[in-house]
Symmetry: D3
Subunit: 307 residues, 6 copies
């Protein structure tokens, strides 16, 4: 009789075989408004059995062989949730960093499920050590560029600012942002980050270097091919109707299809060296649609990764 | 003093006068994920008093006379909910079949409110007996084409497959589908069903035989005029933000207006000989918007039927 | 040690300095379907601390100085919620009228937070006394033009009809309407009100007098410049997915961005002399997105007002 | 095919045969705190199918014949819910009075399901006309003896005071009371009502005239045999843990078994000429236990009535 | 890096070492009223990390050594949830029987977590094969003695009747029962089962054969020492205030402390050869207290088992 | 027109006149299980308008004059909620300490509303500085005596241990405790604290020094008269049915009446120099009974304080 192993659906590879290692970071101590992101990663794992392993959008399957008898999916090992101490961001981030380091040192891609957005810092700082030229692609409703929040620097509201402390100007590409205090926007507009507010439509330009939207507005340089990318998705980039189950929901966001397509653009064209999906607070949305969306986002993410 | 008769709003015709007979099939024993569709039909009836009998979209009213002093609406009799035994799909389907047969034999159109999607089988098999050339128009997020679900063939996940067992290839037209295991999609793509994934935009082509969307993609043959049609709507074809109250909500679905217009296309142009609207699980959505949407869908459906 | 003053975020002006006076009208006695609008104004005040005072859409801030060292925002005083007696619409409306009169007599703009929509009558009748040529711009899912509701004339379902009793034909401009009994639509179509169903797209025409949508459909006359306008927003004009927390949610409504832009058009171009935002019933939406949307609507409203 | 008749479980008698007539009064316009009692009577009817018609406490059944082949239960006709206008207590009370009068004039016992407690007044004033010597037995957490509530005299908080206006001192017997403003308690203690706070333990004394609790504390006179009694039960007399689904829940209340036994004492020993059970607000308790308790209370009530 | 093994807290033994084997039976297809028991076992496992492994009632710990350096607890292996097909009671029961048989054949005690109460049949029939003289001790609000429910014999409402089919008269001891149709009570009172309604107070008598309550009412024979006992606990034996999260909550039930003590009486004095704890429907109680109670019941159960 | 001052009902004194100063400490960063206590103090203030200022238990009123024309109540100033930074327990505790110090230095009694239980430390350490002989009376389900929680010492699970660090053995009197890891119970039983598990019945003995329960079990010494007492109430001492809205609900707790009476014993007999009421997490209990209970506890507390 076997032990009860629980993984995200279709993430059943052995560690040695895995290219991606999934893990949860159930921490939300610094959440300023409505807590519950601590329950996000476990909820995604539990509820993943309500979705299919097959994506009709991509015609790929996490597990089943395709018509040619080959695997579409990438091998994923799910190491479960870390045990993180509420009440100490320092200790929680250290535990995340240690786990991330182990994954990176084994030549695999860490894919962390939050938890609040601060957890990104724990993973990213290990990624940045190994890939000094790494860029961040950041999907979010909030800029997360405060220097501190009521005096606290290790806060979900400051996490991209802390990442900026590490990698400096022009390396953080923010999409979908539609909230922040004035000083955050001023910080971004001063060139410290590359901010694209309100939508994801400039993604193609970042990835391909041309103006694929045809609207003449996206003239920025593309990321050079092969640039290592850390991809952090705060799920509140989605409209609050699509994703109510999050600490600080914001109206005016993107649709699921917009997010799905943008993820595909990035994952299939960039050199992802680390990633996270965060800010699902399943307790806030008793209907469960937020968790279902998050699971579907993760499936599409995994099936989109460039192999 | 009168007995307490409860009907869906505006469905007050006497049985003899009715062209459409509404009834509920409160069964969800085979629901694999989140149950509650058993409460759908009763919730629609109770909450229907929150909507109007008048549709400003169609300028028609279920009850009130129009400016010409005529009735717009079709006469509808609501026979309430069947008493169905949880735990036996066979017995539940038999009860549905008996009720449907009675309605059909009296020359009326059965319009069933689910319950889970499996209930369609109970009604459809009676329709198919009487209309051997019947086609099915199927709106859903899920293909429902599995041969079995964990060994069970009478399952909500298999209902269109069971219908296919009865009427065979090319007679099932599926719209809005965006989930299913790989084998289901392969079954559809092998020509067993006519599948139109992700949206409802090919409806006009099916109904009118031309390419009314103008995108050159919809080249299938139209249904011959007068073809008997069984129309089954799984409300989870709607985006999960619009309709969270259902057992397996799927992001990336259609809007209410898209659904409303597609229903009008079908009901006003096809020879509807039976229909159902299913998979409202009102307990899952405590805000009540799912039930309100379902009621509005039913009102538009009733006012759209070709007379 | 100071008393615990609670205001909507950023509405901290002293009364003498204020141009706008915010107040809550926590009344919902006549709500026919699902009550709870009585909790709307207090919830907006409590939850406003979850949004920012800065609008990236407008690059304006309710509080912080802009780059030129000037205030963007208008000075707002929040006088809290009135104490209104449930069970007597007459007494509640009188209390609202008295409070509105005081604000108007001090040369300020009353901005009332409902409560159910009937509260508009209490404020509007005072506005109409002082601005006999006032027009009403009305955003809503429902026409609210019944003469009575089960015999009651002071009902949320009749509030625009009561306003029409005061100012007569052609002065009420209704947008986004998608529900009502046939008689209400007939009343509107007979020219008693200027009704623009289903969307907000004709707003530009009303405000600017041209056809800025370019679709040739909006040929009505524009409001003459300087016309005093009372602006009443029933938040159920939003789609029910965006704003589930309301007494009678209606699918098929507008998005947040559509509402935001329409509010900007009106507030930045019209002579607003009074306004209200109503029908948030926060108890109905346990996810809290409805309250968050309402707060964001109010912030955009306040930052859009023409100065 | 039959119309869809909905009744409280086991209340299927024809009107002519009925001794008790059940009806709902779905009104809560004057509720001062948390509304929803309007949904109480319908919820009880819908959810009654979750309980049995048989009481093991009493060994009686609403429907099935007992071992001697006789009916235990009393014949009950359920006339459904009245259509009451929110926003006008006067009109709502008039409609209740008319319905009650019809029942009384036909020689039957009216048993009203609230709705808020104010509805008692509509029924009681008709009872009092026909039984001038009627007493009221009142179970409640709240005294409901205010003269007015924010100036409104027709308020749920004043309903027993309005009844006192009709029948005067010493005729209202209040049990379980544990909340009220000081003036209400002073009014009661001044002898205007016979108040027994905090518990139901003095019931036996009222009914039998002796000290059946054996604690020597209950020395009041018993009701003379045959005294007509109007019995009004505000379900918030129950502890808030047992009955959370009510507008103003109060901790420190009675258990279900205490309530059940007290109801039996009264119904089996007194001459009940009218009654009501009110203040279930099912929307407030999503677990549904409050509705289930209310249904069980009603079943026990019906099976306890002296025949 | 290790796989993510999830067990009920403190149930970490290896299979070979285990005396008790825990497993979940997530099935609720026959639930007649409110479904959700399918989620019970998983919720208990997930939420068990909110309780301690130590019982201050018993001064025993599931894991930690006691003051003498010994284990208090029994070694428990948690094999997770079975994968059961909704829609087929037969197939689900077969899967439960197979799993139970394996555990029994390995000389261990099966302890099943429901799921609805019907799952008991799958486990019990295997136990009865191996222990033909087995008795059942049954805690429940409902008698579960129907012969069929709307024609279905494999129903949660019939489960003890099905067990009676196997072991016959006098072997089923029912406690806490307070609901059932008249025929069920007649069946029990005819001597087919040993029924003790409304409370657990006769447990001591059953276990010890004397009248430990001292009330002279419990004169039945005690179970002979060593009698094999199958112990089935439907958690709705608890009062609905204590345990709202269940399909058919019943007021008038026992307190947690009464249940805890009764479990200790049985587990520490009887020869338990199989057991189950069922009918937690966590989705129905969003407060989570029902799941917390269920976890605490299971911990006390495990720590009470006679070693 | 006045600013919108919000206080707990009846707590309207000016600061100079106040004997008690109420304030909220909305912090729950270290909550290990289910967060939300941060919303507790604000919810109590908002919802306090649902209870009366008069206590029929005590025949005292927070505001109204009694029959002799005197005030019963103590003058209370409500300074609102502190602004505390989530993510830093140190900074949050410092802010609490500063506020407490100010109140103490002005000769008033601080009465803090949590927030999680850790906030007690911030207030208590200031109290202990000024009253070195202070004792703590502690009502709770949990011992809160861990030395650390996953390495974190400033945790809600350690708060009484941190208080013990300050005042040492024999000064902490714990009542109602029914959960903790073995080491905590060993710590208490080793004499470091005076623990009275499972109930509040030994309170009388502590307060009066005699055995008022008459059960011969409570023979401990009473507190000497005039001993300064810090009284900390974790509301989860209540049974989880009575108080579901808390982070770690525990079955088997006390009733509201038991708590109310125990509070009266302490407040009316001891020299209270500081106090707190904590761990209401209103978001967890959508029925609102937990908040209503908490408000009633606070009212009884305020009316019980010895003057």
């Amino acid at each position: 009789m076997k032990h009860n192993i629980e993984t995200f659906i279709g993430c059943d590879a052995e560690y040695e075989d895995a290219k991606v290692v999934l893990f949860g970071a159930p921490f939300d101590s610094t959440t300023s408004y409505r807590p519950g992101a601590r329950f996000g990663s476990a909820a995604m794992r539990h509820e993943s059995y309500g979705i299919e392993t097959y994506s009709p959008y991509l015609d790929r399957d996490l597990v089943d062989l395709n018509d040619k008898g080959e695997y579409d999916g990438i091998a994923v090992f799910d190491s479960g949730d870390l045990e993180l101490p509420m009440g100490s961001a320092e200790m929680a981030l250290d535990a995340i960093s240690r786990h991330t380091a182990e994954i990176l040192d084994d030549g695999k891609i860490p894919l962390m499920l939050g938890g609040e957005h601060l957890v990104t810092l724990g993973a990213f700082r290990e990624v940045a050590k190994r890939y000094p030229d790494v860029h961040i692609i950041h999907f979010d409703a909030h800029a997360d560029l405060r220097n501190d929040y009521l005096g606290v620097q290790l806060s979900h509201a400051c996490v991209l600012r802390r990442c900026h402390d590490i990698i400096g100007d022009g390396r953080i590409h923010q999409f979908g942002i539609r909230s922040g205090e004035r000083a955050e926007w001023q910080f971004a507009h001063a060139g410290h980050t590359d901010i694209h507010p309100f939508s994801l439509k400039d993604i193609a330009n970042l990835v391909h270097g041309d103006d694929s939207e045809g609207n003449g507005k996206s003239k920025g340089l593309a990321l050079p091919k092969g640039t290592p990318v850390y991809f952090t998705i705060d799920l509140d980039v989605l409209d609050s109707s699509v994703f109510p189950g999050t600490g600080t929901p914001e109206a005016g966001g993107v649709t699921f299809d917009e997010l799905r397509k943008a993820i595909y653009e990035i994952c299939s064209n960039c050199n992802i060296v680390g990633a996270d999906i965060n800010e699902l607070a399943p307790n806030i949305d008793t209907s469960g649609i937020s968790t279902a969306v998050a699971c579907k986002v993760l499936r599409e993410f995994l099936l989109s990764i460039k192999q």
